[in-house]
């Protein structure tokens, strides 16, 4: 089967990419385009390390053919900073030590962003539910949950 040209929006930029059929979004991002913040943990949709936002919804890019996101809005961790400034979630994860080896961090931040964009005042239960599809193997779940709750406070206090 021949490669196809696919048009999509990546981190706010409209781009055309050429991919073979069934190329996953994870491979496109990491290998074709060099956006390596999106990680490889399991390649079977279990670990959440490869989570990106598709039209604001968290999705595991390892299971997603590029053809399925044609014309859609894709955001990776690389797209979170605005004018060189950390997003409040990034800042909070950094300042509250919600990171250890860092490998699950991109996925954790992306699901947190999806949650807080839709639900600015999540309960602890809602935070846990949002993070439930993402593995951390350094077992730092509690600091991550706390960081999301703190991120919500910081985002609400500046009015976004």
């Amino acid at each position: 089967m021949q490669a196809k040209i696919i048009n999509l929006t990546l981190n706010g930029k409209n781009i055309d990419v050429m991919v073979s059929p069934m190329t996953t979004l994870q491979v496109l991002l990491r290998e074709n385009l060099g956006y390596t913040a999106t990680k490889i943990g399991c390649r079977q949709g279990s670990c959440g390390s490869c989570t990106v936002l598709i039209n604001g919804e968290p999705m595991m890019s390892c299971l997603l053919p590029v053809e399925d996101v044609a014309g859609q809005d894709v955001v990776t961790l690389e797209g979170l900073m605005v004018d060189g400034e950390l997003h409040a979630i990034q800042e909070t994860f950094f300042e509250t030590f919600a990171i250890q080896c860092g490998y699950c961090t991109p996925g954790m931040i992306m699901v947190s962003k999806a949650l807080l964009d839709k639900n600015p005042y999540p309960s602890r239960e809602e935070v846990i539910n949002a993070l439930a599809g993402n593995y951390c193997r350094c077992t730092g779940y509690e600091p991550i949950i706390q960081a999301v709750i703190e991120s919500a406070k910081r985002m609400n206090s500046v009015g976004n």
Binding site: Q90, E91, C101, T105
Partner: protein, 445 residues
């Protein structure tokens, strides 16, 4: 000392690598790619125990993108050398299987191909001629006379200075059991545990213009990896340039030197960069795990709570090969009697081979299962003698100057102080006699 004169202790410092982690700029080994890089995938044993009578690559070679296969004949010194470096023999694990396989997932042949897809396709087309042998999966079954034997030296146990196990003999346990008012026995066991790091084990070996090979790796033990790789490939150490970096979770699982030697060999044979990264399935099924342990305790105890005799027989499941388990068993034997003053101790700690994936390093390996079993047993003693679990530990706590069963004089005891602090933190009011105890000042016996 005033803490105000310190600029780090007692202060919260932001992590140096933290900004990289939250922005995605931290580079892990699998984030690195080079032009013309090849992918290495491993042909692994589908059975737990077999004679390997032949390998047929003819169908694999037809796959578009196939570059070459590597077998044991390509490996200059086909011996896994990690224990050689810490002075423990014998060398008993092959880098690539020669005439036998002893666990599911054992590496047999490497396939190097242009893409990951073609490497996987070629691996699936390799035909193995295997003659299956009876397998054994339980440590005590492996020591029975009719057990299938895994090792060329004719037993399924590691030999410690001529003995079938690591032994500790201190005092006379039989005499202690005769004097004891309670005999308390139990068996404890732990299962194998996979580290399951978020980032799987992997490396890239890249030939340079000057003839050296640069190896980018997520190993936890960079110089260990350099030494082992050079020995296996029989090249001078300076031929290799090892580049470590951020490890996406290790927990001891990235100490074994597994991927680097064969990836480096493939780079030398093809003169191209080669990436060898475990799939999640390989990480779970073929990488080392924390080995399983089975631990039998028999304690002789007095009515006042004093343990006067302790007999322990334990079995470590090393899996099919040594890796770090013989060393772990020695650590285990030194620790399993516990931080307690017991006048009569007898320990037999066995390092046993079974047809399971090899066990190796993981967070206090050897000692962690010992602590689990030991403290379960202490609670059981407290229950049967009718004493408070805190009391049983204070009564038997070791102090500086005591002799440990393996003939080491205790110089760094802090058990009493740790228990006192723990009691305070959980709001448990200790009797005055325990509050006033110290690891340094012994009350008159």
């Amino acid at each position: 000392m005033s803490t105000e004169t310190l600029n780090v202790v007692g202060k919260s410092k932001l992590r140096r690598d933290g900004l990289g982690h939250v922005t995605g700029k931290t580079i892990y080994v699998n984030d690195i790619n080079f032009p013309d890089m090849l992918t290495l995938k491993m042909v692994r044993s589908p059975v737990p125990h077999a004679n390997l009578k032949g390998i047929d690559f003819s169908e694999a070679e037809k796959v578009t993108g196939f570059v070459r296969a590597l077998t044991y004949e390509d490996v200059p010194k086909n011996i896994y050398t990690i224990l050689t470096l810490i002075g423990v023999g014998p060398d008993e694990e092959m880098v690539l299987a020669e005439d036998k396989v002893r666990y599911i997932g054992e590496p047999i042949a490497a396939i190097v191909a242009e893409t990951e897809e073609s490497a996987m396709e070629a691996v699936s087309r390799v035909r193995l001629d295997l003659e299956e042998l009876p397998a054994v999966f339980d440590v005590e079954d492996a020591l029975k006379p009719d057990a299938p034997i895994l090792k060329d030296w004719g037993t399924n146990y590691f030999v410690y200075e001529g003995h079938h196990c690591r032994r500790v003999r201190f005092g006379d346990v039989e005499k202690g059991f005769q004097q004891a008012q309670f005999i308390i026995e139990d068996c404890y066991q732990t299962t194998p545990i996979e580290h399951a790091p978020s980032e799987t084990t992997g490396c890239i070996a890249k030939p340079e213009a000057d003839g050296r090979i640069t190896v980018y790796t997520n190993t936890q033990a960079l110089f260990f990896t350099l030494d082992n790789t050079a020995i296996i490939l029989q090249v001078p150490f300076q031929k290799l340039h090892l580049v470590g970096g951020t490890v996406g979770g290790g927990f001891g699982g990235k100490v074994d030197v597994i991927v680097e030697p064969i990836a480096t060999l493939a780079a030398m044979k093809t003169n191209r960069p080669v990436k060898y990264v475990f799939s999640r399935q390989e990480e779970m099924q073929a990488s080392s795990s924390r080995g399983a342990w089975r631990m039998y305790f028999k304690d002789g105890v007095m009515k006042d709570g004093r343990i006067i005799a302790r007999q322990i027989t334990t079995y470590a499941d090393s899996g099919a090969y040594n890796r770090h388990t013989p060393y772990a068993v020695t650590k285990h034997a030194a620790n399993i009697a516990g931080p307690y003053r017991i006048p009569n101790v007898w320990i037999d700690a066995h390092c046993v081979y079974t047809n399971r994936q090899p066990g190796s390093a993981m967070r206090g390996f050897g000692v962690t299962p010992a602590s689990f079993a030991l403290e379960m047993q202490m609670d059981k003693i407290a229950d049967q003698v009718g004493l408070d679990p805190w009391a049983i530990r204070f009564i038997n706590a070791y102090q500086n100057g005591d002799m440990k069963p393996h003939r080491k004089i205790v110089e760094d005891a802090t058990l009493i102080e740790v228990m006192q602090a723990a009691a305070e933190m959980v709001g448990h009011d200790l009797p005055e006699e325990y509050k006033s105890m110290s690891s340094w000042a012994r009350k008159e016996d």
